[in-house]
Assembly symmetry: C2
Homo-oligomer: 99 residues x 2
């Protein structure tokens, strides 16, 4: 899970994650989530935080009212791993339950 994703494996992982893209300035993936309001955005963050803590793998995220800009990368690996892909999928899943 903590091996860096590169080449076709990485492309395949990203294709399976709609809305996620490569970060501009570093080896990471990023997505902007938009909710109805702050309460919905922070509720989503709270559910994700519990999963992230259990995984011992945490997002970087910027919350501005109803939006959350997420960046995922695995510090130990110096880039994107399957752990990031797994957390990205969980984030999408929880967001899908809300809408």
């Amino acid at each position: 899970m903590r091996e860096k994703l590169t080449g076709p494996k990485r492309e395949q992982a990203l294709r399976a994650l709609p809305g996620w893209r490569e970060a501009d300035d570093r080896d990471a993936i990023t997505k902007r989530f938009v909710f109805r309001d702050f309460s919905e955005a922070f509720g989503w963050m709270t559910r994700v935080a519990l999963v992230a803590e259990r995984m011992d793998h945490h997002p970087e995220w910027l919350n501005v009212y109803k939006t959350v800009e997420v960046t995922l990368s695995t510090h130990d690996a110096g880039g994107v791993t399957e752990l990031d892909a797994a957390l990205a999928k969980i984030m999408d899943g929880i967001a899908a339950q809300i809408r």
Copy 2:
């Protein structure tokens, strides 16, 4: 509360908020909070989120593991108001309870 803070009033407000400083790129105040770990950081955010929602005044915040970079500004006023100073003080108060 929603009147823009300028001049001596603003200086006075900032002096009463240790660790807070003017943002570099816009009319806002900012502070970096550092906690013991993610759980403590997100626990603090959750308590602040409840207050922010009650105030109907929300922070911009970037959480990276145990750190939270907060930026406060009042959108309607296009700058820093007493509402921001009040939320900053509450954030400091909740952080002080944790340590």
